[in-house]
């Protein structure tokens, strides 16, 4: 509990900064949306673009002039921002102890390494939930001027759940890298690189049928906003796959951290 609270306090500023980024992003996006909203000319412009490009930016599946359609496009960017934050919090919260050489303090206290990992994971998770709620709140607040209907709220809730699962995945991967990597200084950059690689895989996988298999390697494809909007539910296979990734990463984190030398 003491570890959790200390980490929560130490990471609060970082939550505020990320929260600020999200709010700014939502406000700017909605400012753009005001140009698209109920504007048929916009659709005409989009129709002139090559379809591969529309696929790449996930513009095909949505009607940009409606609130739900617009949110569907924004979803990808939310996913990116929230996942990057989660991956960085995850890797940093573990690896900073070695980077700042505080392991010689924190791990010579009467505490097991797994308890330290648990406390820190929970604190990073709290940050993720906080950022998700900020995202949710900012979206709802900005949507008010466009008469959101119940379908939008349902889609929004489903989208937030999907974002939460993605946060969990990248948090777990970040924690695992922080725990397992001997070059602790690189844990954060490796986590974010991994994330960007999987993101580009999700874009490429949509461009060509032969590359379709890549979708299994990219969490960004697990929760496709277009499918969420049209089916109104999540794919069970991908949910299971997400659960497996989270569990494997966390087990790996506890296992490796308890057994490796700490670098001082």
């Amino acid at each position: 509990m003491n570890i959790f609270l200390r980490e929560l306090k130490a990471n609060f500023k970082s939550l505020l900064i990320w929260g600020g980024i999200v709010i700014l992003f939502v406000v700017i996006s909605f400012a753009k949306f005001s140009a698209y909203a109920d504007n048929p000319e916009m659709l005409a412009i989009l129709d002139t673009m090559p379809s591969a490009m529309l696929d790449a930016f996930n513009l095909q599946a949505f009607n940009l002039t409606t609130l739900s359609g617009f949110y569907g496009v924004m979803f990808t960017y939310f996913a990116l921002i929230l996942s990057i934050a989660a991956a960085m919090w995850g890797s940093d919260i573990i690896s900073k102890e070695e980077r700042d050489k505080t392991v010689e303090f924190s791990l010579t206290l009467p505490v097991t390494r797994s308890k330290l990992v648990t406390g820190k994971t929970l604190a990073a998770l709290a940050n993720c939930i906080g950022l998700l709620l900020i995202t949710w709140g900012a979206t709802v607040a900005n949507a008010q001027s466009y008469q959101p209907d119940s379908q939008f709220y349902h889609f929004l809730a489903l989208g937030m759940l999907a974002l939460f699962i993605m946060q969990l995945m990248f948090l777990a991967i970040g924690i695992f890298l922080g725990c397992a990597m001997k070059q602790y200084k690189r844990a954060g950059s490796v986590a974010v690189s991994l994330l960007l690689v999987t993101y580009f895989m999700s874009i490429i996988s949509g461009m060509h049928e032969k590359l379709d298999f890549l979708k299994y390697f990219s969490p960004f494809k697990y929760f496709d906003a277009g499918e969420l909007l049209h089916k109104g539910q999540m794919d069970t296979t991908y949910l299971l796959l997400s659960a497996v990734i989270i569990v494997v990463a966390m087990v790996g984190a506890y296992y490796t951290y308890a057994r490796r030398d700490l670098y001082i």
């Binding site: 010689e104 303090f105 010579t108 206290l109 009467p110 030398d261």
Partner: protein, 290 residues
């Protein structure tokens, strides 16, 4: 019961040598000095005992229990002062100490304030604003606030001014008088000599000598200085004589062997003065490292 028992402890960092086959025991209530130059393996040994790193082979027990398996539990009774202290920079001293205290199954508040007052530590400052010496003081308070039964001190005096060093030594002696066992690692021999009962000397990862300080000084070498008017230096060039050197009006050397032999030799000379001393730990130490 030995408080620390180390058995053939070996640590390699990949191929790089940490320590090799280190074995020793430290008894309850003892102040055990652990001396060696930088890079000899002092910190590695302590970090192994605190299970920050894991041994390549060998084992160690603290209070009779495996140091790694029961590490977290054992550390309830262990205090550690690292050679360089690093704390969460953004925390206030008081918050850091309270955080540290929250891990122990007893109330440490009173002792914490006592120690902070003794070390003249301002607890309202942030760690990042503290000087090296002041950080060290935080380390001392943090390492002692839970009244540990075993203390690991790794070059504890670096960064402390002489006045603080004296206070610190006084504090350690007081703790020791209460029955606290102290493992004192240092390369400053003077302070080891002042404080410790027994010493282990480590060189390039191996223990080369374990002995109590007195017998280390007595059984080893005598430092002999002879002053005489006419003196044939080469007549002292006999077995057991070391580092023979001419001084202003005499000779100085170290001697190890039958004391009667050298006394007979000396008595043959018409002396103006003679001193026979025990060498300082420093001088013994240099001998081990030649």
């Amino acid at each position: 019961m030995s408080v620390i028992e180390v058995n053939k402890l070996t640590k390699y960092y990949g191929k790089a040598r940490g320590i090799i086959d280190v074995s020793f025991k430290v008894e309850e209530g003892e102040i055990f000095g652990f001396i060696g130059p930088n890079g000899a393996g002092k910190s590695t040994t302590i970090r192994l005992l605190l299970s920050l790193i894991y041994p390549t082979s060998g084992s160690a027990t603290l209070f009779g229990r495996d140091a790694i398996k029961y590490g977290p539990e054992l550390r309830q009774d262990i205090g550690y002062l690292p050679s360089e202290v690093f704390y969460y920079e953004r925390m206030k001293v008081i918050d850091l100490l309270k955080y540290s205290a929250s891990f122990y199954k007893k109330d440490c508040t009173r002792r914490m304030h006592e120690l902070a007052e003794l070390m003249e530590l301002d607890m309202n400052r942030r760690i990042e604003d503290l000087s090296y010496g002041n950080k060290k003081k935080v380390g001392i308070v943090q390492g002692l606030l839970h009244r540990p039964k075993l203390l690991f001190l790794d070059e504890p005096t670096s960064g402390l001014d002489p006045l603080m060093q004296r206070k610190f030594f006084h504090l350690i002696r007081e703790e020791n008088a209460r029955g606290v066992t102290v493992f004192f690692s240092s390369h400053i021999l003077g302070e080891v000599q002042r404080l410790c009962d027994r010493v282990g000397i480590i060189k390039e990862g191996r223990i080369i000598e374990i002995s109590d300080i007195r017998s280390l000084q007595q059984n080893n070498y005598k430092k002999i200085h002879i002053a005489a008017k006419s003196l044939d230096v080469s007549s002292f060039d006999i077995a057991g004589v070391n580092k023979l050197e001419r001084t202003n009006g005499g000779v100085r050397f170290f001697y190890k062997g039958n004391i009667n032999t050298i006394m007979r030799k000396i008595s043959e000379i018409d002396l103006s003065d003679v001193t026979i001393e025990e060498p300082t730990l420093e001088e013994i130490f240099m001998h081990y490292y030649e």
